[in-house]
Symmetry: D2
Subunit: 417 residues, 4 copies
Amino acid sequence: MVNKRKIINDPVFGFMTIPNEQVYAVLQHPYVQRLARIRQLGLSNFVYPGAMHTRFSHSLGAMHLMQEGIQALRNKGVEISDSEATAAQVAILLHDIGHGPFSHVLEHTLVEGVTHEEISLLMMEQINEDLASQEDRGLWDHRPLDEAIAIFQDRYPRHFLHQLISSQLDVDRMDYLCRDSFFTGVQEGRVASERLLKMLNVVNDRLVVEVKGIYSVEKFLVARRLMYWQVYLHKTSVAAEQLLIAVLARAKELAMSGKEIFCSPALHYFLYQRVQGKDFYIGSEAMRQYALLDDSDVLSAVKAWMSCDDRILSLLSEAFTNRRLYRGRLLTEPLTEEDKKSLNRHYAATFGVKEEEAHYFYSEHVSTSNTYSEKDDSIDILYNDGTVRDIASASEILDLQSLTRKPRKIYLFTFRE
Amino acid sequence: MVNKRKIINDPVFGFMTIPNEQVYAVLQHPYVQRLARIRQLGLSNFVYPGAMHTRFSHSLGAMHLMQEGIQALRNKGVEISDSEATAAQVAILLHDIGHGPFSHVLEHTLVEGVTHEEISLLMMEQINEDLASQEDRGLWDHRPLDEAIAIFQDRYPRHFLHQLISSQLDVDRMDYLCRDSFFTGVQEGRVASERLLKMLNVVNDRLVVEVKGIYSVEKFLVARRLMYWQVYLHKTSVAAEQLLIAVLARAKELAMSGKEIFCSPALHYFLYQRVQGKDFYIGSEAMRQYALLDDSDVLSAVKAWMSCDDRILSLLSEAFTNRRLYRGRLLTEPLTEEDKKSLNRHYAATFGVKEEEAHYFYSEHVSTSNTYSEKDDSIDILYNDGTVRDIASASEILDLQSLTRKPRKIYLFTFRE
Amino acid sequence: MVNKRKIINDPVFGFMTIPNEQVYAVLQHPYVQRLARIRQLGLSNFVYPGAMHTRFSHSLGAMHLMQEGIQALRNKGVEISDSEATAAQVAILLHDIGHGPFSHVLEHTLVEGVTHEEISLLMMEQINEDLASQEDRGLWDHRPLDEAIAIFQDRYPRHFLHQLISSQLDVDRMDYLCRDSFFTGVQEGRVASERLLKMLNVVNDRLVVEVKGIYSVEKFLVARRLMYWQVYLHKTSVAAEQLLIAVLARAKELAMSGKEIFCSPALHYFLYQRVQGKDFYIGSEAMRQYALLDDSDVLSAVKAWMSCDDRILSLLSEAFTNRRLYRGRLLTEPLTEEDKKSLNRHYAATFGVKEEEAHYFYSEHVSTSNTYSEKDDSIDILYNDGTVRDIASASEILDLQSLTRKPRKIYLFTFRE
Amino acid sequence: MVNKRKIINDPVFGFMTIPNEQVYAVLQHPYVQRLARIRQLGLSNFVYPGAMHTRFSHSLGAMHLMQEGIQALRNKGVEISDSEATAAQVAILLHDIGHGPFSHVLEHTLVEGVTHEEISLLMMEQINEDLASQEDRGLWDHRPLDEAIAIFQDRYPRHFLHQLISSQLDVDRMDYLCRDSFFTGVQEGRVASERLLKMLNVVNDRLVVEVKGIYSVEKFLVARRLMYWQVYLHKTSVAAEQLLIAVLARAKELAMSGKEIFCSPALHYFLYQRVQGKDFYIGSEAMRQYALLDDSDVLSAVKAWMSCDDRILSLLSEAFTNRRLYRGRLLTEPLTEEDKKSLNRHYAATFGVKEEEAHYFYSEHVSTSNTYSEKDDSIDILYNDGTVRDIASASEILDLQSLTRKPRKIYLFTFRE
């Protein structure tokens, strides 16, 4: 079986190889297959029609880069056992497993007090149990995902393996910058993943980039910043997101008040009761239903709500479905209470709703992103003389203070009349 | 407004321009927006995870190539009026408007006696009416889409405009070969659309390709053939399609027998009654519901059916959702009645169902495709001396008989036990 | 040293690795470095300005593909020793070592009765001796290139290694189709080298392509044919070649008659005496001078000849240098003696030269190429049932007779007046 | 003739069009054709084997981007006459016309007191005269290149046209970053030329970039910086350059002392006498000979010098030709006089030459480059409210002081013993 390795065709990186049967078994789990029904960029396709790629393809791509990174480190004499290599690949394959459909939207409406990172960990543990219980092929030495989960949680003794998965220069970011730029067509966001990986090394159990890669790191940071403002925080994407938040908030309000509205069973679970952090644990109903939820439940329901007899829900749903999104404009100052009252009066009058419900027709939103964070693991540059310096001080042209600053943009989004 | 032309970022062709307000108005119609919720390649993403692109992006891409083709012809002195150019672009933008979700599946299960081409025409006429009735901006000289529809139906006096939309070397094929190869990662399917378009000319109201483009045409035909067998008719895609047909057939059987199963309102319409060709006409309920149906309704429903108490439906739905697709193998001969009986006995026993229901667990399917069709408009090569010859006779290496032959592959697909 | 492998940046294939010190030692030999001063496509840059790439980069690229091919075969269980792998890589690195500047031109003018293939073998043997004599690092087990030369000459017991270097689907062709299409910008010529290599296997010591690669092989053949007619035999390239032949022929005529004209020492050797096949042997002066000759000698000399007092040489040289190439047109029949006399009269009168010298102002040339040759090793397709068939009979659309036919184009090239 | 526009296949940008007969006439001039014999990146191919592209292809590419830039500005309502458009295209086509082979090398050895920019202007004026004198087709309204030269010299009333040719965000830089990154394979250097051009506008006769393009400008600056350190100032390229300077300096020393060494007539002119700025004027012999010099003269001569009886010249020439380049290492301080004496003693002893000649065997060199220059025209960002700010203050992450600082690297290059 050694030679019969599965190959997957990836438009971003070409042929990708499933390295062994353990990884293949993880790939088959329904939780992983579910990622193929959740888009990586949520609603960005309203701006970039090509951006339909899924979290599944991102996870595969990141796994592929992990393979390349491990190979590059081994070529430099860093010893990584086969079991560590498999664990690192499984960990990156599962790093986003807890994402729900339109994550940011969901976390503002249907699920409270729990992050997708926390759910990821629970799901990994569930997969671990499932694989252990069906294990009859002698694939694993021990509980299958213990090592992968330890790496994911940074509990594994070798810190650099965690950094490959989660740091400021991890294979997660390398893949999503390459992949998102590929599918949006914003080619400037592409980073030189192959070159960056070849420049990696390990010093004192920490990842470092050899000094000749410093220009590539600068370009990586600038590309990431560009993708944030040009894609991830694009005004129209955010407008779509805010509108979908309004749709789901209204639906939940109606549901909680007892009104019957169309929804799939999984969506029903989250609309007709308050679901909180404490509801999520291994084997819980919340987990089971969450794992059944994907983009199709949301999109199909919103479409059906166009003919709901609640005027607010139908107006919002129709606008979302037919792409008449909120209009956005930049504010220099946050809205005052007075501003909001005035907006409420306006929209109540315009759409014939109560003033306390008029807030569904506009939204104030702050977009923010920093290019580099001092709190996270720094990106360390290894000089030829063996010294190591943080990129923020090593770079001659990037401004440390600016990199770590978080510029904010305040938008007012309003419904099209 | 002349200068303020909308630009769309396309990963395949780069920047694409919406040429004018008329085309923009068509783009805004809900029927067109719906194409953004229908995948171009249906279930191919089970094989090629990147292949999530939509019919919307294909339509935009084909419109972009139409612009380039018209420009190329104008540069050679072919006169094309602005109104003809707009009509040709609208026609190609709408050429696939009648596709439903997973078209081939749908046409085998939920909709009888009407093709997506027929529905396309009805939808164009509906858009024509809608735009005419809301027309207050003086955008159009007459009924907005009359000219586009005439070109689409080949009723317009200038035949070559129809050929740009629908012939063996049309912008539809050029876009889908480029686009599908891009998103699947099967780079060999890419055709030189820019070069092919620059080689076009018009002789006696028919499109011709200048002789120096003959090698590019040969490569176009071979690339198309490759894409058919490597992508469109890939065994695993077909397996997924056959499985989804089984799912929907079972669902419809249950629905028609009165059983209540989860489905969106639009899907409900097609599950709980027989819908036939005669039900489709402008303004009909079938049309209204059809226009509301997209991929999400099907995917969300199948997922919910995993917990249906009908064992057949739940088994099939679970297999589809978690990607345990039919296994396929090539047959040298079609199944005999005896073979089928034997299969029925086997699956009835295996899954504890009646023999007359066992057919849901396997499927015999014939895949076929020809590379070139003599019946359709031929691809004509223009020689330097002015003579014109069909590519099938002009090409020195392609074999006419082989090109037009339709090789068949017979598969037996069976449920995984 | 194992880990310190040299990496070369290649625009076509990305990072390429020099696999070990033996190969690195071969790369350093002056004969190999000389390939960096000889363009792969000779005079094609007159048509495709980007086509300046060298035989050196082609040799590196082919070596890279050889690495990939060997890896693919090993993954399928074909055993290839490290020493065989190195030998195969050295053999492909050196396969074109005997090419002179503007090979086709040279073989028509300055060198008689010896082909570049024969010179390649002599040069390999010379490198073999040179490396053996300087060998003090214990790099090799035996005479360094014995195994590589045996593979090159098909004397090595394992025939498939020779096929990787020289057959109808060898890494030489894969690289040059990819590379030449990349640098000319004729993207249609690109072949799916990575995919083709992954489809290779070995049956009975012969290379075969697995049947699922049949469409890729068809596309490979069609791409190759396209490159022949669109690039290698492009009328303007051939015109430039014919003109350079005329320039060098005139220069040699003058030189042999004792006239002093500018030339580098290496070029002097070939202009001022007849050099024949028998002059080429290991250690001979002809070999020494040949190894010193490259594009720069020819280009620099022709430029200087613009001010030669021989009117024919100066006219031809000026036309070549300033890109006023012969005009070409297709003939339906070869020129008759009468035609030639008439042309001689015409050009003698026009340029004031003798009739017997007028032939320098025109040239009759036949271009020919077949897409597939039955004489060479066939491309064999391996079916799932283990049978093997030649692509010419396996392909459903390619026409055997047409593929092996050699179409001819007869051109008359004439000097611009 | 309007429709019969020449098309050139460019691997970087695809099809490029020669816009009209005037530009075509300029292209045909021998001075322009000469650029096809001069490599854009001089000796970078010693590091990046693909980097063989010529100044001719760069000039064509920049002309292509000029066309796109003019179109983009016209689409925004900036009026540019056809005559201005042609002049701007001619100006960019000729902007590098004065480059000699291996420019930096040449200016350190064979030509004194004149820059390639000054020679460019003289050559443009010569072409202007040549075209005027042969003008019989009524192509031009007046002296053909007057307007182009005025734009080139920034004497034309509309300053922004000059900025398109020469500023910190000109089409020259856009092309060379795209082109050099393409041919070297350093993909990170690619800039989004198409997007940048679409973001351009003109305010108060100055080019500005719309604010939404700010991230693209940041990336442009970072990409340019990367290309400087990774390609243009790559240690090995500089080593090759320093070695070639040593070769030519020695050759000139020998020539001036009367020794006969091989060289082409054009090279002879510059080796056997001192050529200074005052020798360059329209119609001068220096101009005539300079226009005949290209890469081939230098490469062919150095190769011949390998067998020169001057030991220094032959050693250096052999090392250059067979790629045994200087070794380089970074110095923290410049060499002292004492260091140099010591090096002289060492190399004199090693190679048996006089101490005053030992300097040919080593070279101290300072590489420097700034990313952004305040002295040149700034890159101005246009905000939505109409205000304009310099990128150095507009960018939130780039550090003004760092951008304009010129980091220096001091290298000591030494001959391999």
